[in-house]
């Protein structure tokens, strides 16, 4: 026994090392990426702020032909420590085509050393110095290409990290581009957050391992270990704050930690985090005293091989699913407005469940959407099962030739990625050019505007989803049909049973064990069939064909970023699905039980 155990420990360590290095590499990549991105967006924001502050005064100075005023404004702007350059360019005909860029003149520059001559009276603005010209051409070129009034853009890849931003100012005399070039900022990263979580986990792992290895009174050591780790976290935070304190426009580490949800006001949240750490630190020895820690440790020790195998995936699931899930539930109690989250208690849920002041026939009403969703799900499942079953029964015929060919061709819709299917059918339901309307035209019907009425729009969705979904049911049924012994039918034939009798008494009952799970799964798929609804009808008309999941999406990403309300929606959807699966689990068990 001794030898395998030793070897197994090595195996466990190997697994751990592999998993840890994989996660480590991944985290490292993510962190580097995140660092760049945070820096860049922060710089863009600063550039935008400086521009916004500058545009108004510069414009009014230009209107009153106060060129000296423009110049002093730009000089003042360029003196800020986060701005390296502020320029005003003029162009008589601002166009998106490049040749016109040659006519761009530098009107004023924040840095007097760059020596751009300001306009005086009818005098032409100074031409650009050749050394500087190319750079400004490129710079303004990107302004013009993006064709928007408010512009911002990034430096080309490989260039020094330097954020440039421009803004177009239109005057009766012509058009100007106001540009601000921002120095890269040192931005705080959320790295300490990751570090902190990592330390906490280590802090937990150390005492637990400790417990697992040796006997009683180790809980003191556990507590001490955790306290040590909490202290280390504190040092990290303090060190981080000291580092960040030198950078302009940054938040403290503690604030970063707590702004995750509160979205702004530091203070309240810090207490929570430290309170939790303290509680953990104090709580563990208490647990140890009560023997809970000991029992957990014993269980872990006893099953440590199993644990070692399960931990990588379990950690993955905790980080990727359970944490977002918990955050989602918490988010449901917050309201999101312009980047800030504010605690509103149950308001989102009551808002949704009461319909938020809308009547039940209003497309935005939860109960209306729920009704549409249920209708959508049941109709689709019925169609999928009946078409799938029908085709499977036809294909089952032993004398039928070319079965394989039909089968291969008929599962094609399942093979096509469903977003392509959805877009394809969206095109086919196009009012003017769509294939469906053209086909109707062949039979002498008028063109239907599919997405302007509820029922036609709903039909379009259902048709698409039926096309996409029946092959799965057909394949499942075919598989199950093959496992029904042929002699049952022969016996029934001998007894003189009719075809219908055979179908309802032999085929259907024997199909049930395979069909029930397929139907349960199919219903969940359809209930959540985001792509079809979102891409085919897009909820048209007026959001009435939206199902719950697309409605939640709309609240989050289309209607004013109401993350809180959308999260509450998602929680409700989860509860519905959970109730459904608990219910069907019983049904499935019942179906299994009948034939065991």
């Amino acid at each position: 026994m001794a030898k395998p155990r030793l070897a197994s420990r090595r195996g466990v360590i190997l697994t751990w090392l592999l998993g840890a290095s994989l996660l480590g590499v991944f985290t490292l990549g993510a962190m580097v990426r995140q660092r760049n991105l945070v820096t860049r967006t922060a710089n863009e924001r600063v550039a935008r702020q400086r521009l916004d502050g500058l545009a108004g005064p510069v414009r009014s100075a230009l209107v009153s032909s106060d060129v000296a005023g423009v110049r002093s404004l730009l000089e003042a702007a360029a003196k800020r420590r986060d701005v390296s350059e502020a320029v005003l360019l003029q162009s008589k005909t601002l166009s998106t085509t490049l040749p016109f860029l040659r006519e761009v003149h530098l009107v004023a520059h924040g840095n007097p050393a760059m020596g751009a001559g300001p306009i005086r009276g009818d005098q032409r603005p100074a031409a650009l110095s050749p050394a500087y010209a190319k750079q400004l051409y490129d710079w303004t070129g990107r302004v013009l290409e993006s064709k928007r009034m408010d512009l911002r853009w990034r430096s080309p890849p490989g260039a020094a990290e330097r954020i440039e931003a421009g803004r177009r100012i239109s005057l009766s005399k012509g058009e100007y581009i106001l540009g601000v070039r921002v120095k890269p900022l040192i931005r705080p990263l959320a790295v300490p957050l990751l570090l902190l979580v990592g330390l906490l986990l280590v802090g937990l792992a150390v005492p637990l391992a400790n417990r697992a290895a040796t006997g009683r009174w180790q809980w003191l050591a556990s507590g001490a270990g955790l306290a040590l780790m909490a202290g280390a976290c504190g040092v990290v935070l303090a060190g981080y704050d000291a580092w960040v304190g030198r950078a302009p426009d940054t938040a403290s580490a503690a604030r970063l930690l707590t702004t995750g949800l509160s979205g702004g006001a530091p203070g309240g949240g810090v207490g929570y985090v430290w309170g939790m750490i303290t509680l953990l630190t104090l709580g563990l020895p208490v647990l140890g005293w009560r023997g809970t820690g000991h029992r957990v440790a014993c269980a872990v020790r006893e099953h440590r091989i199993a644990m070692a195998y399960i931990v990588p995936a379990a950690l993955g699931m905790i980080v990727l699913v359970l944490v977002p899930f918990a955050v989602g539930i918490v988010l449901g109690f917050f309201n999101h407005c312009e980047g800030r989250f504010e605690y509103v208690g149950l308001a989102n849920f009551t808002d949704i469940l009461s319909g938020g002041g809308t009547s039940v026939t209003d497309p935005l009403n939860f109960w209306f959407t729920l009704g549409v969703t249920l209708l959508w799900t049941s109709l689709n499942v019925v169609l999928h099962v009946s078409i799938g079953l029908g085709l499977a029964l036809l294909l089952k015929d032993p004398l039928l030739k070319g079965k394989g060919v039909y089968r291969v061709l008929l599962i094609l819709p399942w093979a096509v990625p469903n977003y392509i299917t959805a877009l394809m059918w969206k095109g086919m339901f196009h009012q003017q050019f769509g294939a469906v309307n053209q086909l109707l035209g062949v039979f002498g019907f008028d063109k239907v505007s599919w997405f302007s009425h509820f029922w036609t729009s709903f039909t379009a969705n259902v048709v698409t989803n039926t096309w996409l979904g029946f092959p799965f049911m057909m394949v499942v049924t075919l598989g199950a049909l093959q496992s029904i012994p042929q002699d049952l039918y022969e016996a029934a034939e001998v007894d003189g049973a009719s075809k219908w009798y055979q179908f309802s008494r032999i085929t259907l009952p024997l199909l049930r064990p395979a069909l029930v799970p397929a139907v349960i799964l199919g219903a969940i798929w359809t209930f959540n069939m985001f792509n079809v609804i979102y891409l085919v009808s897009a909820g048209e008309p007026a959001g009435s064909t939206d199902i719950l999941i697309t409605e939640a999406y709309r609240w989050a990403f289309i209607r004013h970023e109401r993350y809180g309300l959308a999260a509450a929606y998602a929680t409700l959807i989860f509860l519905i699905l959970l109730a459904y699966s608990l219910l069907t689990n019983r049904v499935a068990k019942g179906a299994e039980g009948t034939f065991e």
Binding site: G11, L14, A190, V321, P324, W414, N528, F530, Y553, S581
Partner: protein
């Protein structure tokens, strides 16, 4: 008499099946036709062979560049590939050990753990999309391959666990016991006996995770907002936007993007059916 009845019967069956097949294949034929014929609208023609064949749409898709001259199709293909590959590696790696534990060990929390995996597998990632979005936003991982891989792993890991557990259950324990007697360690049994025996299942699982990640649209659409970081499905959707629609380019792109994975699907679909239904029943 019987011969004649069965002939009539088979003619009827063939007629029904041919009709259904034609209806089924019609939209696909339209897309193929569109990809080869000039013009941008999605017109109907009952003739599936294009009157005037052109490869212009394929060229449009393959040669798309953004305004700073970056080769979009290449980048998007690379993005799709890297995201799908990393998701697969992460999923299969994390899942294989977990599936082995679920299959071979009895430990407290086993049932609960499996239930969690099952529930997560059934519920779509779209449900936790909002918190994921908020979290990734705070971490600065929006618009990145890493962020998308993390999101896709939420569905890939439980799926892989179930597929692999189902397969590990079918491998007789005698083999491991024999290895044990020959002096293999626990890990050795897993690494040298079980994993090599499950190569086909590992391959199928990996290919399925790859395919799922490759075909995913809405999460990518939500989490990516820079043309050069799009994956292929997002690129395709943007060919047929609300304001301007280039159905020709869409059709050509759809064929380029989906034909390889459709081929894969045909090879794998039997394994998928058994995996899905088995996972559903056994829990």
């Amino acid at each position: 008499m019987i011969g004649r009845r069965s002939r009539v019967r088979s003619v009827v069956i063939h007629a029904v099946l041919i009709t259904v097949t034609v209806v089924t294949l019609f939209p696909v034929a339209l897309v193929v036709r569109k990809s080869l014929s000039p013009g941008n609208d999605f017109r109907l023609s009952l003739n599936p062979i294009p009157e005037k064949a052109t490869t212009q749409h394929y060229e449009t898709v393959l040669e798309a560049r953004d305004f700073s001259g970056r080769w979009l199709f290449g980048r998007q293909l690379w993005n799709s590939f890297v995201v799908a590959l990393l998701t697969t590696i992460l999923g299969v790696f994390l899942a294989s050990t977990a599936a082995y534990a679920f299959s071979r060990f009895r430990f407290p929390g086993r049932r609960f753990g499996m239930m969690i995996f099952l529930v997560v597998q059934m519920f779509p990632a779209t449900l936790i999309m909002i918190p994921l979005y908020v979290i990734l936003d705070k971490l600065g991982l929006l618009d990145s391959v890493a962020g998308l891989v993390l999101v896709y792993s939420t569905t890939a890991i439980p799926f892989c666990v179930f597929m692999l557990k189902g397969y590990f259950d079918t491998i007789p324990r005698d083999l491991e016991e024999a290895a044990w007697i020959d002096g293999a360690s626990r890990f050795g049994m897993f690494w040298r006996v079980v994993l090599p025996l499950s190569k086909p299942a590992l391959a199928v699982t990996a290919l399925f995770s790859f395919m799922t990640a490759w075909n995913e649209y809405i999460l990518a659409e939500t989490f990516l907002n820079n043309e050069a970081s799009y994956t292929l499905p997002v690129m395709l959707k943007h060919y047929v936007g609300d304001k301007s629609a280039d159905w020709g380019a869409f059709a050509a792109g759809a064929i380029l993007v989906s034909v390889p994975v459709m081929g894969l699907f045909y090879i794998l679909q039997k394994a998928l059916v058994s995996g899905l239904t088995a996972g559903g029943v056994k829990g």
